[in-house]
């Protein structure tokens, strides 16, 4: 009898707790997931996002190849060449994720997706790239082996070879990779300087800084740098001011924020900004996202996490803040844990 009594009491307690939980959820201005997520880049979008504008690292490489050719062939001055962005980020949607979270992508967005997301491909002219004694010598300094960085390398050489071929010239490429060991950055950069190359192509922030440090005369084209001004590489995006200019891989944050408004079909929305608080690049993007939200009159809630263990707590607090959608910038920690983000979003 006593036992039954205890069991009944605990059941009743549980019921009361659950009820109060429901009541609290209902009156806290909170929302229930899952939420449509817009990510900073397409790889993350493939796993957890509904739609985004994607930067193609190959395209960024092609852009850098053009800049290098302008300097080498046409004598363009890097100090007055503005830093480039991906000229034409492609809109991509993910109907699988949209289906899973029960979100309908509006026709107005769907209709703008072009079938081929990576339209620009350049065919390398092999004859313009010679192993030795080309008309020009270009040193490539890449921080590490990494899919995106490899693409900027490939796009650069492809486009440079096309431009060289068109001008009837040849180029010798010295391709060096620091293999993730930053001590090698400056060694490689100084080797290029001692070999007196005509141009250095540096891929990723620290490699670009090492190249900029090693020479004030040889033109340096950087790539895959999110914040070239903050990295001390250029005086301003419009007028770099010295021998260093290049291509920034910043994703079109403002366009991505606008896309959220389009997806939800309303201006009266609250966007949850989810990012890793220790990543400079993420914070840089979040600042741009906030500025765009303010410009558009969207409300926003920031949620910085330390590592992936914080992700569930972050979702709970975003839910309680009553958000309508989530924006995740290009962020290393969240990119690695993006499958987990999707699982938490689905409530699994």
């Amino acid at each position: 009898m006593k036992h039954n009594c205890k069991a009944f009491l605990s059941l009743a307690l549980a019921a009361v707790l659950m009820l109060s939980g429901l009541v609290l959820t209902a009156c806290g201005g909170s929302s229930t997931g899952p939420f449509p997520i817009v990510c900073g880049e397409t790889g993350m979008n493939d796993v957890a996002g509904v739609a985004t504008y994607g930067v193609s690292y190959y395209n960024l490489g092609v852009k850098a190849g053009d800049m290098a050719a302008d300097i080498l062939l046409d004598g363009a001055d890097p100090s007055t060449m503005a830093v480039s962005l991906d000229p034409n980020p492609a809109l991509v949607i993910n109907e699988t994720v949209a289906g899973e979270i029960g979100f309908t992508i509006p026709e107005s967005v769907k209709s703008r997706v072009s079938g081929d997301t990576d339209a620009t491909t350049v065919t390398r002219v092999e004859s313009a790239v010679v192993a030795d004694g080309g008309d020009y010598t270009v040193g490539i300094l890449q921080l590490m082996q990494h899919v995106a960085l490899d693409q900027t390398n490939q796009g650069f050489v492809d486009q440079l070879s096309v431009r060289m071929d068109a001008a009837g010239k040849t180029v010798t490429i010295l391709d060096e990779n620091a293999a993730g060991d930053q001590a090698n950055n400056i060694t490689i950069a100084e080797t290029f300087v001692s070999k007196n190359v005509d141009l250095i192509y540096a891929i990723a922030t620290s490699s670009s800084q090492a190249a900029a440090s090693a020479t004030t005369e040889i033109p340096v084209i950087f790539n895959a740098v999110t914040d070239p001004v903050g990295a001390g590489l250029v005086a301003s995006l419009e007028a770099p001011g010295a021998n260093v200019t290049g291509v920034s891989d910043i994703n079109p944050v403002a366009k991505q924020i606008d896309l959220i408004g389009e997806l939800l079909g309303s201006d009266d929305i609250t966007i949850g900004l989810l990012y890793t608080s220790a990543e400079t690049n993420s914070i840089y993007q979040i600042e741009q996202a906030k500025a765009e939200c303010e410009a558009k009159g969207y409300k926003y809630v920031e949620k910085g996490i330390g590592d992936m263990n914080d992700i569930e707590a972050a979702f709970v607090s975003l839910k309680n803040a009553g958000i309508d959608a989530i924006y995740i910038p290009t962020d290393n920690v969240l990119a690695n844990g993006i499958a987990n983000v999707h699982a938490v979003n689905l409530g699994k």
Binding site: Q142, G180, I186
Partner: protein
């Protein structure tokens, strides 16, 4: 290429001497190194951003390194955490601390990369160049040489003092040391503080040399330090004098950087950089043994002939 290897070699020599204190003197495999080199670089870069004198910045970086080493020492001696784990704990906590240090420069949260490209005139190298007018490369050579010599002199003197001898004794035979009434906790903490101080100092110079500090720049530094020590010890295997052994480590560090520079200069496929570096170092290290083998074979042949 040789010059570039020399300039960087001297900077890495200071790190190697620091690693030598913990690894050889104390017999303490200290992994804090990968964090403290970045701490030194972060402190120096942050202070330069804040308008501090670069030499003072390097000195304060040294002190910051000493503090980090003290933490590892306390974790090990007071909380009885094994050496490797104590070092790892310091190393991973420094990752966050280094970001906080760099935040102080920019005033923004999450600064993981601090550029000195706009502060090129405010580095120790620029200061020496201004003073003597010898150019950046010569200035870095001169400074590297002077600091490496000073560190060797300092270590030679320090490990001759009573406390220095006690630290060496701790690494050799800790139980015997305790029996002699030496507080080995104190000697370990002092040794680790000094070790990490020098590692941070090399980080401070490195960041000014390469014009940036990056939170990931310490990755692989312990390997460079250990490789330099082993190369130095192998080449100076017969050296009995302590100062010569220390000199051997400087030579080892310089040689290691020259090997890397040579591998890069030779223009082999970029994916093979690490493999080639390892092969060249392995060949260099096996030379003494090969030499002995050859000598031994020659002796045998001579013996046969005589017999």
């Amino acid at each position: 290429m040789l010059l570039s290897g020399l300039c960087q070699g001297f900077i890495w020599a200071i790190l190697s001497l620091g690693v030598y204190i913990s690894y050889r003197m104390l017999d303490f495999a200290d992994l804090s190194c990968e964090g403290t080199i970045t701490t030194g670089a972060s402190v120096a870069a942050m202070l330069i951003w804040r308008g501090c004198n670069p030499f003072l910045a390097a000195l304060l970086a040294f002190i910051a390194g000493c503090l980090a080493g003290t933490i590892t020492g306390l974790l090990h001696t007071k909380l009885k955490i094994p050496p490797i784990l104590a070092g790892i704990l310091t190393m991973i906590s420094l990752y966050s601390i280094n970001i906080h240090i760099m935040n102080l420069a920019t005033g923004k949260e999450g600064t993981s990369n601090l550029s000195l490209l706009n502060y090129k005139d405010q580095t120790v190298y620029a200061a020496i160049d201004r003073l003597l007018g010898i150019g950046k490369t010569n200035a870095s050579l001169l400074l590297g040489l002077v600091i490496a010599a000073a560190v060797i002199a300092l270590l030679y003197w320090f490990f001759g003092t009573e406390i220095g001898c006690a630290i060496r004794a701790t690494g050799t035979n800790e139980k015997m040391c305790r029996a002699q009434g030496i507080n080995t906790d104190v000697t370990k903490i002092i040794g680790l503080a000094a070790s990490n101080g020098f590692i941070a100092l090399s980080g401070a110079l490195l960041s000014q040399y390469q014009s940036y500090t990056d939170v990931g720049m310490g990755v692989g530094s312990i390997v460079i330090g250990l490789a330099s020590i082993i190369i130095g010890e192998t080449l100076f295997a017969r050296a009995k004098h302590f100062a010569v052994r220390l000199l051997g480590i400087v030579v080892g560090a310089v040689l290691y950087r020259i090997v890397v520079a040579f591998v890069i200069f030779s223009g082999m496929p970029s994916t093979d950089l690490k493999l080639m570096t390892a092969v060249v170092v392995a060949v260099a290290l096996s030379l003494p043994i090969l030499k002995n083998r050859l000598a031994l074979n020659a002796k045998k042949k001579n013996a046969k002939k005589a017999g």
